[in-house]
């Protein structure tokens, strides 16, 4: 049986058009390569 209250918690407000700038700014653009580079720099030190 569906638990309505639990399911509702999964719903988040959608960002509006005015929030595009914030969305771009807060976008996480790190990837595995960045992690790999960081790991390699740490190992070289």
């Amino acid at each position: 049986m569906i638990d309505f209250d639990e399911e509702i918690k999964k719903f988040r407000p959608l960002p509006e058009i005015d929030d595009v700038e914030d969305a771009v700014h807060n976008h996480d653009v790190s990837d595995m390569l960045d992690l790999l580079m960081a790991m390699m720099e740490d190992s070289n030190r």
């Binding site: 960002p15 653009v29 990837d31």
Partner: protein, 466 residues
Amino acid sequence: MRCYRCGATLSGDDYCPSCGADVKTYRRIIGLSNSFYNEGLKRARIRDLSGAIESLNMALKCNKNNIDARNLLGLVHYEMGDIVNALAEWIISKSIRQKKNIANDYIVDVQNNPVKLQSIDQSIKKYNQALMYVQQDSVDLAIIQLRNIVKANPGLIPARELLALCYIKTEKWDLAKRTLEKCLLRDVNNTTILYYLKEVNSMIAEMADGGGDRRPLRQEEAISYVSGNEYIIQPVLDKERSGTSTVINIIIGLVVGAALMWFLILPARIQSAKEDVNNQLKQVSEQLTSKSADLDELEKELSDIKKSNSELNGELDSFNSDSGLMTGYNAIMEAASVYIDDSDNAKSAADILSTVSLNGEGSEQYSRLYEVMNIKVMDKAAQDLLQKGKELYEEGSYGSAIENLESAKRYKENAETLYYLAMSYIKSGNESDGRTMLNDVINDYPDSSFADDAKEYIRSSEEEEE
């Protein structure tokens, strides 16, 4: 593929030909990113939008510079109605590669359609408001809001998901099922939707199972359940009605309807019809009265016209009669014409003129003409006839002389005419008329020589008688 360190183009080896960096792991990560992208592309093609988002996110987690994956991710977000995340991905893609990037076209398309953009923004705002309603336990309000959103923007999948959840909360299983099925058409493998649909189907199956576990819906007039291959929706009733009661109800309905007609509708209709008839009668009566008045007036007018016509005819007859004015005019004109043609033939003109008697009628011109003609013609005619009479008297033709002298006397009487006429009578044997005329000469013309002659004749004839 380029080296992550120096940017040189890599060959098939595990080392960069330029800087010698170890690119083996790098190449594997890039390959992994590309394979995630391929998977995301496959899923997007079969409209597994949720699955495509997962795969493309993984592709970008491996390689943030995977432009194709980022562009496709933006496209999938756009298709699901999440325009903000779509624009974010395209903007980031454009910042990574500014030229020869389809993200530029996507952004321009969105910017060039401000109406749709505004509509989507409004839908997003309403969705957020509906979510707030649900969180405040105003599910009915949220349902109304979400239905409007779905109608305006069918592509906003989170709105449909929330609407389905609200239907489930209010136990409107059939509506929930329909909403979820429509969601699946847009996002075939959405796990949330599939989960809800599974629950809804199970609830529907439970209700259809032997009819025992049927749950009446709140604020709902019908119960719906699946029975075999059929989806049945029926109203909530305590007991089934038999055919007999249905027929009885129909008959009662007919009787009540007929009674209503008879007592309520029919009298009003009859009254209305009567009023119409009365109005028409009144109009006809008014018209008839008016027509009668017109007829009387016309008859009076006709009578006047007839009277006037008869008067005019009488006048015309009098004009045209022998003693009428027209006859008189014609006689005057004829006399004038005869006299003008032959002024010596005054007698003919005088004969014609003697028939005229204007009696004070006629125009002034005709009266003057008549007087002039009278003077000229009558004088001339009398003179001619006197002369002729005297000649005949001298010849001894007393009868003819009397005739001419009588005409002369008629035209213009004078002493000479009267004397010779008297003498013609005496000489023709009519002594008494002759003597009477001689006395007229003596009495009427005492100063004329013919009076003396008359006296002399009378004296001499008296002496002869003695």
